[in-house]
């Protein structure tokens, strides 16, 4: 797949010596939704800021659609839209004016029809003449999205777009993000909500302490990193220790003499042998249940390493 953003050896050191990004390499595919997952202070916002031109890079390079973000900043920035983490809006201006202002900043003339479409899509049309201070937090968040979309960007950065919004609005926002992607826009999303990444991302990149730990397709990540716990319910009690040396048996609080929790990793060839062994030992299997690891559990595993 064609890369629309190529980040190579990007490092960022702040004046106080803090290294926010350390030799980050990341390719972002055209038309995908990629989620940047990481704890607070991992470097997600700094990474976005470096690509968008908000912060200077210490070293490395970033190419957007084949253009260098420093040398050809006009070309790169003109196709990028940014929804910042903080709601930063001119408090006394009208909604429609701040959206027009954004469009003009990107070199486009006013296009009332286009702005109307965006505002309607974001349920802001009725509020277009309201001043920003009169809006609720959720509405303000919609306004910053409208501003980011005002110049019809090919790439959209969403820095924690659903932080602090209620569940309804979050689901609404996910739907909107899917709609934007359906029109061919590449979306880079940072989020604390792993369910958000699980819901809408095609690929997931995990970042911690300024380093990209891994970047995988969401489905492959869950499959590769995810392990299943298979609970085997037997008709009668068995001696767990007899099997735990040879097989990956979990002895947790939930286990009892009738249930064995088997730790199943992908392509585990022992599982079939384990079942055969149980059968050969005369045990009757009443039920088998499986439980996959969630993305959240995988994320916590990776970040804690």
């Amino acid at each position: 797949m064609k890369n629309i953003i190529e980040i190579k050896n990007l490092s960022k050191k702040f004046v106080d010596g803090t290294e926010a990004l350390s030799s980050v390499n990341l390719d972002i595919h055209d038309g995908e939704i990629i989620a940047l997952l990481g704890p607070n202070g991992a470097g997600k916002t700094t990474l976005i800021s470096a690509v968008c031109g908000i912060t200077n890079m210490s070293s490395g390079s970033v190419q957007v659609a084949g253009f260098d973000v420093k040398k050809d900043y006009r070309k790169t920035r003109s196709i990028i839209g940014l929804v910042p983490q903080e709601i930063a809006l001119q408090p006394f201006e009208k909604v429609i004016d701040v959206v027009r202002y954004s469009r003009n900043l990107f070199g486009f003339k006013n296009d009332d029809k286009y702005i109307e479409d965006i505002l309607k899509r974001l349920l802001l049309w009725e509020k277009k003449d309201k001043r920003i201070v009169e809006l609720s937090g959720g509405m303000k968040r919609r306004v910053i999205i409208a501003k980011a979309l005002s110049h019809n960007p090919k790439i959209l950065f969403l820095d924690e777009p659903t932080a602090g919004v209620d569940v309804d609005l979050r689901i609404d926002m996910w739907q909107l993000i899917k709609e934007i992607r359906a029109k061919g826009t590449t979306i880079i999303l940072t989020t604390h909500y792993i369910e958000e990444a699980q819901e809408i991302a095609d690929r997931i990149s995990i970042i911690n302490k300024g380093k990209i730990l891994l970047t995988e397709k969401k489905t492959e990540l869950i499959e590769k990193m995810g392990q299943k716990v298979i609970s085997i319910v037997l008709s009668e009690a068995i001696n767990h220790t007899k099997y735990s040396d040879e097989f990956d048996i979990i002895n947790d609080a939930e286990s009892n003499q009738h249930i064995i929790h088997y730790n199943y990793l992908k392509s585990d060839k022992n599982f079939d042998r384990f079942i055969t062994t149980l059968k050969n030992d005369g045990h009757v299997i009443n039920n088998i249940e499986t439980k996959e690891k969630s993305l959240e559990e995988i994320f916590l595993d990776i970040v804690s390493k």
Partner: protein
């Protein structure tokens, strides 16, 4: 060049002025009129002419320059500090706008506001005292250049400032005393010789003197020096702004 962006910044800034018309324009005009009433009419009527010009008329250029310099400074500093303060500066930095375009957008708005205030004061003054302008084109040019120079300085202050208090430090503690001591209300030739020489280190003397020359055809210092001083001051401010943007000082880091 991203003309749309320059226009957007300009219109946005001007609309802020229109929204806060009383604070932006009426307030400095009223305070200047009070100066005229007190210094020009009440006290000035008892003062001797300076270089054949009545005291009330003599102070007009100084008062205009005092007001427009402080207005240029505060307008430009606030216009760039406020986006920094609320975070909307990031939108500007992530847009395809060059530093030159950003400066043109903000400075042209600040200059427009100050020029309007300056011209309103001039018109107001003409109702209170007799004013004749010997070199009207030079008067407009010097007023314009002074507004540009102080707006650029204000822009620097707005980037340098870490809080609202610091925005007022430069105008209140440096510019206001320099303007007052730079001959706004008197000719520096009235000072003792030693203080005349000391005063020549005050750059504002050259601006006021040049501006007064445009009005009355005579000045404390040679007009060429005044023009040179204004242009040098402007170039120094531009150089500092270029350095700020090229390093990202207090903007990008």
């Amino acid at each position: 060049m991203n003309i749309q962006a320059i226009k957007a910044i300009y219109i946005f800034e001007m609309s802020r002025t229109i929204r806060t018309l009383v604070q932006s324009i009426a307030s400095p005009v009223i305070s200047t009129v009070l100066y005229f009433i007190v210094f020009g009419s009440a006290i000035g009527s008892r003062m001797e002419n300076i270089s054949d010009v009545s005291y009330g008329s003599f102070i007009v250029p100084g008062l205009i320059l005092l007001t427009v310099s402080l207005q240029s400074l505060s307008n430009a500093s606030f216009s760039i500090y406020f986006p920094r303060f609320i975070g909307t500066i990031n939108e500007l930095l992530s847009a395809p706008v060059s530093y030159t375009e950003i400066v043109i957008g903000y400075i042209s708005a600040a200059v427009t506001k100050s020029m309007i205030i300056g011209l309103i004061i001039l018109i107001t003054a003409s109702f209170l005292v007799d004013i004749s302008i010997q070199h009207p084109i030079w008067m407009i040019c010097i007023l314009f250049l002074s507004c540009v120079a102080f707006s650029l300085m204000g822009f620097i202050v707005g980037i340098w400032a870490k809080n609202f208090e610091q925005i007022t430090i430069i105008p209140d503690l440096i510019i206001t005393p320099l303007v007052f001591l730079g001959g706004s209300f008197y000719s520096i030739t009235l000072l003792p010789e030693f203080w005349q020489k000391v005063t020549l280190f005050n750059p504002i003397v050259y601006l006021i003197s040049g501006f007064r020359w445009a009005f009355f055809g005579n000045s404390d210092v040679y007009i060429g020096y005044s023009i040179f001083a204004i242009i040098t001051f402007t170039l120094i401010c531009l150089l500092i702004i270029w350095r700020i943007f090229s390093t990202g000082y207090r903007i990008k880091n």
